[in-house]
């Protein structure tokens, strides 16, 4: 295969090409003008053509690629069973099997690494090779061992912790995430390759340790930090007081949120109830008739949320909301009944929201949110207080917690990282909505400088290499802590992944190389000789 690296976009190259074309034209004109009647016109034409083609070829500098000569090395981790290793060797014909200590002595073009449990020295010796081989990593995990495990290292209380990963199972088994022996979530997995996802709401404030169990056997431990949930300030803006909102306000107050409950009792008479010393609201709860109210608009423009409750006629009410706040809510009638049952003792208006990509619907209840500058949420639920009156305060809490989860404005500040974090494997901590964005982040005894995102001036990231294991304090206002794992079967994989990525970063200018190929170019001296020969031929030929 003949290839060239000729860069067509370079103006100089184009100029050179134009010059070459011009040269051809000059050659042809001279040939025709002067030597048209010469005896060996054909020969001269051939020589001239040859020279021009050679020149052009030299400009393009073609090269040949061939895999034939590329040397492939195979480095297999000690824990990979011989059956797997043998199969790989068979499929990679001509690959040399390398031992870890032979890497420096036997240079190869491509190094296929199987498995991940290697000594630190192996990485060092690969790094130190003069010709860095192209690395291929084929991870190997034993059956029933987790891989690509990932969860959130820090969450707010009440946020969903999601655990994702893969596992190869020899038979049908149950994977559970447990806390102190209590199952938080579980999934039944079939034999073979599986990807799984487990989720549970964060329930603690502080360090939390959960385990992942496979059929009752603990196979990994999760550690994450729970930040206390952020308390909201909710403002109720109502035309008339009613039991539903009143009850909701009390419930919110009992949950520790601050509430400002304002409603008109009569003409020029407004009642105001302030629960838990509320000040500036994060969330405004109101009815559709107040959509155009100045307070609502102000809240939306300030990036706060608005929740609309108790719609009378969803079609007209949604139109009013859309007009006032620039949203695009649309409802569809689904029943001719007065109300539809959502769950026991919970009913909703007989409408549903039209799904659209820029709106978010709550999974269990007819509640939809759309983000403009602030979040606008609309609920189609009828009264919820009967649930509480009938004694089911848990169900009541569930409904409103979910609605609030969707209606909540962005929290401040947000700090995030992906767990697990391993010793000596870099980790990136993401910061958002800090005011102002800190220039430094203190992690344990290290200080890491943050890099503000180019696109979003509210986001920043800090990458650092943890050296100590255990819980490291972040010394922020929430006293967040980060857990660095010392040992885990996944640590090797993580380190290897990081190593492979880091080697590929070196070739960032040319893009990632798939495979090591030996390129054959005509050396400079050959070009020189050949061009000299062509010129000599042109010079000598008239002399003969």
């Amino acid at each position: 295969m003949i290839d060239t690296d000729f860069n067509w976009t370079e103006p100089l190259n184009i100029l050179l090409l134009v010059a070459a074309v011009a040269l051809l034209a000059l050659q042809c004109w001279l040939l025709f003008a002067r030597h048209r009647n010469a005896g060996r016109f054909g020969t001269r034409l051939v020589f001239n053509g040859l020279l021009w083609v050679s020149l052009l070829t030299w400009l393009f500098d073609p090269y040949f690629q061939s895999n034939a000569g590329s040397k492939t090395g195979l480095l297999i981790a000690g824990n990979v069973p011989s059956g797997v290793a043998g199969r790989l060797r068979d499929s990679l014909a001509g690959a040399e099997l390398l031992r870890a200590d032979e890497i420096a002595g036997r240079p190869v073009d491509t190094l296929v690494i199987v498995g991940q449990e290697f000594d630190e020295k192996v990485f060092a010796s690969i790094r130190q090779l003069k010709n860095m081989p192209v690395l291929h990593w084929k991870p190997w995990f034993a059956a029933d061992a987790l891989r690509n495990l990932q969860w959130k290292g820090v969450l707010r209380k009440g946020e969903m912790q999601r655990i994702e990963g893969g596992i190869r199972l020899s038979e049908k088994k149950t994977l559970q995430v447990r806390y102190a022996g209590r199952t938080l979530d579980s999934v039944m997995l079939n034999a073979g390759e599986n990807r799984f996802r487990l989720a549970f709401p964060t329930f603690s404030e502080g360090r939390t340790t959960a385990t992942i169990d496979l059929d009752g056997r603990t196979i990994d431990t999760l550690r994450f930090f729970g930040q206390p949930g952020q308390k909201l300030t909710v403002s109720f803006l109502l035309d008339n007081p009613d039991f539903e909102t009143r009850n909701l306000a009390t419930w919110l107050g009992k949950q520790g949120h601050s509430v400002l409950y304002a409603s008109s009792l009569s003409k020029n008479i407004r009642s105001k109830l302030n629960i838990n010393r509320a000040a500036e609201p994060d969330l405004v709860v109101t009815s559709a008739s107040n959509a155009a109210d100045a307070a609502v608009k102000k809240a939306v423009n300030a990036g706060k949320s608005v929740l609309f409750l108790q719609l009378d006629d969803p079609v007209t009410d949604l139109r009013a909301i859309n007009n006032a706040l620039g949203t695009r809510f649309q409802s569809v009638k689904i029943s001719n009944e007065e109300s539809v049952t959502v769950s026991n003792s919970l009913t909703a208006l007989p409408f549903r929201f039209e799904a659209s990509s820029f709106q978010l619907q709550a999974p269990h209840y007819p509640v939809v949110t759309e983000k403009t500058t602030g979040k606008i949420a609309v609920s189609l639920l009828n009264e919820t207080f009967p649930m509480q009156l009938s004694g089911d305060s848990i169900a009541y809490g569930k409904v409103w917690n979910e609605i609030l989860a969707y209606a909540r404005p962005a929290q401040a500040p947000v700090i995030e990282w992906d767990a697990p974090v391993y010793q000596n494997v870099p980790v990136t901590v993401h910061l958002n909505n800090f005011q102002p964005v800190p220039r430094f982040l203190t992690v344990g005894e290290d200080t890491v400088s943050t890099i503000v995102s180019a696109l979003n001036d509210r986001s920043a990231a800090a990458t650092f290499l943890p050296e100590n294991n255990g819980w490291l304090g972040l010394h922020d206002s929430l006293q967040t802590e980060l857990y660095v794992q010392d040992y885990s079967p996944l640590r090797h994989a993580s380190r290897m992944q990081h190593f492979i990525l880091s080697t590929q970063e070196l070739d960032a200018t040319t893009g990632l190389k798939d495979d090591a190929v030996s390129t054959r170019r005509l050396p400079g001296w050959a070009w020189f000789t050949w061009l000299m020969l062509c010129l000599a031929a042109l010079w000598i030929e008239p002399k003969l």
Partner: protein, 743 residues
């Protein structure tokens, strides 16, 4: 001679005393052995000991003269005696004997007295052995007891002069369940107690140097009781009546020197007997053809023993207000069991169960709880004896032909019947025709009487017949068409006819004209205030026009009956029609009156009316403030969970953890047993430990975490949020909306 005699005598005495000694030793050995097993009843063991004593007397023949044995013994050891010592006992000796006696007496006969004591070692051995066994067993028992209390408690504690602070050594608890349960007595050094209500619990606490020490048991509310000291052991015994937490506290001269963990004291209730009847059908019918015995079965069980089970059956007879009940209690066998399938055949004949009766029965059982037995009963079962002789209205409704009109026909029906009769006149024989006509006339009379009741007319004579006072209205009364003769006849004849049976006719009318003074004075007084419904003239069931209409209809019925009875159905027909017309009119009238009673208020225009009231004296500002200071338990549990993972806490956080655990423990104890509070012993104990600043074991920690997790009410409350650069976000949203519009 005296020497030999003396010797024999001394040997004899020796032997006797030795025998007594042997008896005594044997008795002692037996007593010791008996003591091992019958330690608690000294009388019994001494009785057994005296049996040994008696056996000894029997074996050794003590208290008997042992002269012969003594002589035999001397003979066997002294050849010089020549077996002639028996001669001492004889009184009449012959010459040879005397000579022999003298010969012997001259000799010095010696006897080694140690021979006498030969064999006594066995008895001593027995005593020693018995003593060994006695002490060995006693020792073993004491060691067993010593395992319950520390070794040092058994050792006398060296008294050190000066003030020595007592030190807690150990504690134990003895639980004696109530006798009726049959449960064994339990001793344990785990102070967490779970016992049946009524058990006697005895605490024993050992302290080193228990001087000036008072030991108390304190409950979770801080109430305390003193333990009594008995030989260095602090004891307290009481009956279990309810659940709670307690700890043991030691006070030395008013200062608290020891406090134990909190232990649970759980009172397990003795459950009431459980009755599972075999039949689930609570209501069933019994028919005549069914057997007169019904067999019922039930499974009755109790956690201890069921003392007695029985069936309580009640037979109800009669209907309406005349219902009589008879209750019978049938004890069931077996009695006093733990679990049994009981079958019982109820003999209905014996209960005198007859058609129309109802039998209610239920199972009941009491257990052997003392002092008050638990009682439980099953659902009540009903057996209804179907009375097939009684016709029920429901059955009538479904019958093809309604038999009710036989004795109560409507006016319309009478008209139809009359018309039918006229049509069939030619086909019928004269007698048949007359009979039918008369029958219809009778029906007409029944109907008239019926309507007469509505007017409050008690007596047939007054029903529709009393027109003496009323002005005859010519056009309204068809009777007028028929001439006065018939009219007069009608009233007259009927008045006479009925009047013969009802002599009150004249009296009724007399009432009205009677002067009040001639009446019973009280009745006269009452008359002014009461309402005479039974008088057609004064009743107020219907307004005036309706009553007169009805009256007119009744008059028509009179006429129609007259013609029917005189076999002139054609003539009766117009009266019948007229009567129907009046009846229908009266009905219509009643209806229109009802219809008028409704009232529809005009609708309120809410939007116009709202907020338009007068607001003169009303405050215009209504501002309230409210604070929910108390954090919810769920939030506290979540916060405490975070502290549990940390092993070493800085001082401030430690204080927080202590405060949190104390608060949660407090709330749990206060929340009562039904809210998962007090039952949660382990959690409470762990929280108390944390509150006291002590470390928890792994198992305790896991348990506490699990319980706290449950308390924390984990719920999805928030979603990850990320705020972005405003302009960028706005542009993104715009693009997203446009993109979604394009699709």
């Amino acid at each position: 001679m005296a020497d030999v005699r003396k010797l024999v005598k001394s040997v004899n005495t020796h032997l006797q005393w030795i025998a007594i000694l042997k008896c005594f030793l044997l008795g002692l050995a037996t007593h010791l052995l008996a003591d091992i097993f019958l330690k608690d009843s000294p009388w019994l063991s001494s009785a057994v000991g005296s049996i040994g004593w008696l056996i000894g007397i029997w074996i050794t023949r003590a208290f008997r003269d042992k002269q012969k044995a003594a002589i035999a013994l001397i003979h066997s050891y002294n050849e010089d005696a020549e077996y002639s010592l028996d001669l001492f006992d004889r009184n009449d000796l012959n010459i040879a004997e005397q000579m022999q006696l003298e010969r012997i007496e001259a000799r010095i006969i010696t006897f080694p007295s140690r021979i006498l004591y030969r064999g006594i070692w066995k008895y001593f051995g027995a005593v020693v052995l018995a003593a060994f066994i006695y002490h060995g067993v006693l020792d073993m028992r004491e060691r067993k007891v010593a395992q319950e209390k520390p070794v040092s408690a058994l050792k006398p504690v060296k008294r050190i002069s000066g003030q020595v602070i007592p030190k807690f050594e150990s504690s134990a608890v003895k639980i004696v369940p109530p006798g009726y349960t049959g449960l064994p007595e339990k001793k344990s050094d785990d102070l967490n107690i779970s016992a049946i209500v009524g058990s006697v619990v005895e605490w024993s606490v050992w302290f080193e140097n228990p001087e000036h020490l008072s030991v108390r048991i304190a409950n979770s509310r801080g109430e305390e009781v003193n333990l009594k000291e008995q030989h260095g052991v602090f004891k307290y015994a009481d009956r279990v009546s309810g659940s709670g937490l307690y700890s043991i506290k030691g006070y030395f001269r008013d200062s608290l020197i020891y406090q134990s963990d909190f232990y649970k004291l759980e009172a397990l209730p003795d459950l009431a007997p459980r009755i599972e009847p075999g039949s689930k059908e609570l209501y069933r019918y019994h028919f005549l053809k069914d057997p007169q015995n019904i067999t019922v079965s039930a499974k009755i069980s109790d956690d201890f023993r069921v003392k007695q089970a029985f069936i309580v059956a009640t037979v109800a007879r009669g209907s309406g207000e005349n219902v009589k009940f008879r209750e019978i209690r049938m004890p069931l066998s077996p009695a006093d069991f733990k679990e049994a399938d009981i079958r019982k055949t109820i003999d209905l004949k014996a209960l005198n169960f007859t058609p129309g009766d109802e039998l209610y029965y239920y199972w009941a059982a009491i257990d052997n709880r003392q002092p008050e037995a638990n009682f439980s009963k099953s659902d009540t079962y009903f057996v209804v004896y179907k009375d097939t002789a009684k016709v029920e209205e429901v059955e009538l409704a479904t019958m093809a032909v309604n038999i009710m009109p036989e004795y109560f026909r409507s006016q319309r029906q009478i008209i139809i019947d009359t018309e039918k009769l006229i049509a069939r006149r030619k086909k019928l024989s004269a007698k048949e025709f007359k009979a039918t006509s008369n029958e219809i006339g009778f029906d007409q009379k029944i109907l008239r009487l019926r309507y007469g009741q509505y007017l409050g007319e008690e007596f047939e004579t007054t029903i529709g017949g009393d027109t003496h006072g009323a002005a005859p209205d010519g056009d309204g009364n068809p009777a007028g068409d028929n001439g006065n003769i018939i009219d007069a006849f009608t009233h007259h004849s009927d008045g006479q006819g009925e009047g013969a049976r009802e002599p009150a006719h004249a009296d009724v009318h007399a009432h009205e004209h009677e002067p009040a003074g001639e009446k019973d004075p009280l009745a006269a007084l009452m008359e002014q205030y009461t309402h005479a419904h039974d008088d057609a003239e004064t009743n107020t069931f219907y307004e005036q026009s309706t009553r007169s209409l009805l009256k007119m209809a009744l008059e028509q019925m009179w006429q129609s009956e007259l013609h029917l009875r005189t076999y002139e159905p054609e003539k009766a027909l117009p009266f019948e029609h007229k009567a129907l017309e009046y009846l229908k009119t009266a009905q219509q009238k009643a209806r229109t009156y009802v219809k008028k009673s409704g009232y529809d208020p005009p609708p309120i225009k809410e939007k116009e009316k709202r907020l338009t009231g007068e607001l003169k004296d009303l405050a215009t500002k209504w501002d309230f403030e409210k604070d929910f200071n108390q954090k919810q338990t769920a939030a506290l549990a979540a916060a405490l969970l975070g502290y549990l993972e940390k092993n070493e806490l800085p001082k401030g956080e430690q204080a927080k953890r202590v405060a949190l655990s104390a608060e949660i423990a407090q709330r749990l104890t206060e929340s009562g047993p039904f809210n998962g509070g007090l039952q949660n012993w382990n959690m409470l104990a762990a929280l108390q430990k944390l509150a006291a600043g002590r470390a928890l074991s792994n198992a305790e920690m896991t348990g506490l975490k699990r319980d706290l997790y449950q308390q924390s009410n984990a719920a999805w409350q928030s979603r990850p949020s990320w705020s972005g650069e405003k302009k960028l976000e706005a542009a993104f949203r715009k693009a997203l909306r446009n993109a979604s519009l394009r699709f």
